[in-house]
Every structure is written in structure tokens, then in C-alpha cells.
């Protein structure tokens, strides 16, 4: 019990970004996700991307972008993440990834679900964030680049 209360106290320090998803009605997936932060909206794409990362990606890819051995690949210094061709990582975020292909010589067992509930700007922001964090130094991703690769809406 001591452990639990310690954790509660500890987490109290954090300002949580909470994803507000519309109540699931008939449509299984919410059309858009509002990300609420208690601070004022960060101005830069990278700063906004950090909030998206903390809300949706950090659980698997971790605070240091180092991933989890065998389960979730690191984003830090990953060749696809810093690649000039951004199309792979845009598609991974939009469509998810379950291929279990080798990533820089290792295979990762977990499944990444599609994050197509994020809008184009949110996808661009989070990719801009991961491409310029954890030691990565690659260029930004724009909403227009994401829009081009987003699969047409199925009705």
C-alpha cells in the first residue's frame, strides 16, 4: 500500500494531458481527438508534438524514446525515424504497424494500432517531435505531407 500512495503522490507533480474522446456512439472511432493541456497551447509544432507524444506514444516508446526490448522499437536514432523519406513513419502513425519486420536488426513483438484519429497537424507535430528529440536531428513534417498519405475515408 505504501508503494501505491507513493506513486499517487509522485504523479501528482505531473500535469497530465488528457485525451478527450467523444463518447463512443455508433461510430466506433471518434473522428477527431481534442488534446487538452492545462497550460496554454504551445506555439511550436515540436512543443505540440511533445504533448501528443506524451498522451499517445510514450507508454510504448518510453520517455527516452528508447522503446522496450523485444516489444516496442526505439525511436531514438532509428533509421526510419530520421530518414529523409518521411512516408514510412507517416504511414505507421496513420495505419499502425504489425508487420514484425526487422527494424535496425531487431524484431519487436507488440502491435501498434492505427492513430488515424489524430488530425494531420497532430500527426505532423508528433513526427516533428520524434525526429528532433532523443538525439535525433531530422527535419520537420508538415500537415500537407500527412494529408497526402492519409487513406481516403471509408464510408
Amino acid at each position: 500500500m505504501k508503494k501505491f500512495s507513493a506513486i499517487v503522490l509522485f504523479s501528482g507533480i505531473f500535469v497530465f494531458a488528457i485525451a478527450q474522446v467523444k463518447k463512443p456512439s455508433q461510430t466506433k472511432k471518434p473522428a477527431a481527438v481534442k488534446i487538452k493541456t492545462s497550460a496554454t497551447k504551445p506555439a511550436t509544432s515540436k512543443a505540440r508534438g511533445a504533448v501528443v507524444y506524451k498522451t499517445f506514444c510514450i507508454k510504448c516508446h518510453q520517455v527516452d524514446g528508447g522503446g522496450v526490448q523485444h516489444l516496442n522499437p526505439p525511436l531514438a536514432e532509428a533509421s526510419a525515424v530520421v530518414a529523409k523519406d518521411k512516408s514510412k513513419i507517416i504511414k505507421v502513425v496513420l495505419n499502425g504497424m504489425t508487420s514484425k519486420e526487422e527494424i535496425d536488426g531487431e524484431v519487436y513483438g507488440n502491435n501498434m494500432a492505427p492513430h488515424n484519429f489524430l488530425n494531420d497537424q497532430q500527426v505532423a507535430d508528433v513526427l516533428t517531435f520524434i525526429r528532433s528529440s532523443f538525439g535525433n536531428k531530422a527535419s520537420a513534417v508538415t500537415a500537407a505531407e500527412v494529408k497526402k498519405l492519409r487513406p481516403a475515408k471509408k464510408k
Binding site: 501505491f4 506513486i7 505531473f14 474522446v21 504551445p42 512543443a47 520517455v63 528508447g66 513483438g109 484519429f117
Partner: protein, 427 residues
Amino acid sequence: MQKLLVAASFMLVVSGVFASGTPKEKKAHKPKADPVNAGLKLKPGFSAVAFAENVGRTRHIFVTPKGDVYAKLERPKDGKAIILLKDKNGDNKADETSGFANYGGTGITIKDGYLYASSNSDVYRYKLNSNYEVIDTNKGERIITGLVNGEQHNTKSIVLDNSGNIYVNIGAPANSCQEEDRATNSKGKDPCPLLETAGGIWQFKADKIDQTYSNGVHYASGIRNVVGLDWNTEVNDLFVMQHGRDQLDMFPAHFTAHQSVELPAEIMIRVKKGGNYGWPYCYYDPFQKKTVLAPEYGGDGKTVGRCALMDQPVAAFPAHMAPNGLLFYTGNLFPEKYKNGAFIAFHGSWNRAPEKQEGYYVVFMPFKNGRPAGDWEVFADGFAGVETVNAPRQAQHRPCGLAQGPDGSLYVSDDVKGTIYKISYKK
């Protein structure tokens, strides 16, 4: 690099190495100063040494009545995945290493003259001589084959009873049983088809060749994944530690990120034949102390529904700590309170980000007649080598397997660097 405010708020400064709380002292009579207690933090009276180092990614271990250690490697090292370590000169350090078997895996145990070892889909056994050495390493008998070997939760843990049966965990190749694994608001399949061949414990005969699902007994169901398990000889029953589900906050209408960090409990189950422990329909909430309906099946954190019918755990531990080793202590070396109690090796969490990770230690829980007889406590800590683990790759060692030596000492394996610790006690 300029740290962002948001990023900085959750990235904590990681402190330096902690050995055992005491300053490092140089021992004059030793040529190479080993860290005190091999870097572990222990209770008074206990001491530890690194019995072996750099063995490979060591999963489960078994110590023979002669004091030799069998280690099962997750993947072969130099083509060998079963390693035998001997301490010939009796200085508490392995000084002879040999190995065989080219299949990686987790399970290893000895029973009635045979060594049993698992890959991620099969179980083999090898006849032993009177010194507990494998007579012919080329003559493994494959006793079980063709088990589900998905990308997630694919390791097979094994233990035998005293009636010629072997029990195997078959982990579910998913988190829950969603239409789309780990997707936000994705519903659960009902009934969950994965339960037919996974998410439970299967029982086989210890001495029959090439058994598969059709020869096995589906012993218990609704158990997501197990790595640590043991046969409790005091009450003659199987006990397992479940790795609980992740990511309840895929259902943000009902769960916050913080609730997802603290739920559900990692549970210990006394497995009864035909038992159903609820996965994927239910999970155990340690705060409400009950099994409740999972959000994939309409749960909201409070509704119990069909979970009222599920069999209940015997003990609960904090979420996501990943119990990888379980051992009921039957030795005489440790003080009386340890007798028949449970040691649990928690491999350490990953699903608590952005909060700090938990686990990465061995705990003890006293038991009487197969029931917990007191609160659990951390028994051995310091494996990670850092004060706080914020991300799993910061941990330099992660406890995984447990075994008891003939003198009553406790062995703990580490599957990062392959250290095998031996923990002793002096009255």
C-alpha cells in the same frame, strides 16, 4: 539540445549508481574488488555474490542437489541455449561452463532424473546421470510440440507436479482480445477465440513424446500470460503469477492515463483444475479488491457483470511490474518466516510511462498452508543499478528466474547482462 517545458516536466534527472547504500569499501585480500553484495540491497544478515556473469540473456534457472546451475537462455549464445555452470573449487563463483541445445526459450527444471527445457513452442527432456548431468545432449526427447508461439507473450514456463504431469503456460498473443489489438475504443471479441489455444495453463504427461493440444489437458483458462510459476509442495498445488493487461486508457471515457498506470494488479493465482480467471473479459482491481469487467466488454471500472463468476486470485501486487519468477522457499538456511513463503522476481514495468517504472526487484511474501500470511516486502533490490528507472533500457540488470540451492541459498537470474546472483544468510 533545448529541452521543452512539457518534455522536461516528465523527464526526471536520473541519479547515479547506488550500490547498497553504503560507501564502496575496498577489500584488501581480494585482487579485484567486487561491489558489495554484487550491487544488491538486502536485508540484514543476507549477502549476495555474482555466482556467474555474462552468461547470456538468462531466463529461468535451476540448481541441482550438487549445487550446479542450469540456465536457459532466451537466445543461444555461441550456439548454446542451455548452460551448465559449476563451482568446482567452492568459492561461490562458477568456474566451469558448458552448454548445449540451440533453441532459445525460458523454461528449465529438473524432476525424477530428467532435465526439462522449453523453446517458445516445444518442450524437451534429457536423461540425467546421478550427478544431474545430461547423459547425451544429442538425445533430447521432444515431449510437447506445436504450442501457440505468437509475437507477444510467447515464452513457455514449465513446472512438474509429483504425479508425472508437466504444466505449461501458453500466453495470449495479444493484450486484450480486441477487434484491433491495442487500438483506442476497439471492442473485445466475444467469445474470445484466442482462449481455445492460449491464455491459460495446459497439463501434459511428463514422459510421452510429441504431445500437442489434442493430448493435453486444458487445465485452466482466462490467464493472460504467465512467466513465473511454481508447484507448492506444502499444499500440492500449482501457483502462477499473471502478467496483467496493459493500456486501460485505450478507453479514455472511463480511464485516465494515471488509472491505466495503477491498474490492474499483477495477481498470484492458485490454479484449480478447470478454473477461469477472467482474461480478457475481466481484470483485478487491487483498490476495490475485486474482479471487474474490462472496458473491451462494456466495463467502466466499476461494473462487475459476468466477472462475478470468475475464480479469484490469492494475492495482488502493483500493476505492470511483470512477475517473471516464483519460488516457494523450502530451505532451512533463511530465518523461519521464510519457510514455505513466496519469492517473486519482478522483471520491472514498461507500461507505467510517463510515470516512473516499478519492479526490478525480488519480493517476499510469507505463506501458511498456501495462503498469504502477511504483507509482501522487497527482499532484494538494486538490480537496475539506478535509483529510479524511468525507461526500461536504463536498467542494467533485470531479475527474471529464481532457484533454490541445496544449502537453502536463493539464486536469481538477470536477462539483460546474464548475471546469476546467489543470496545467502548468516545466522
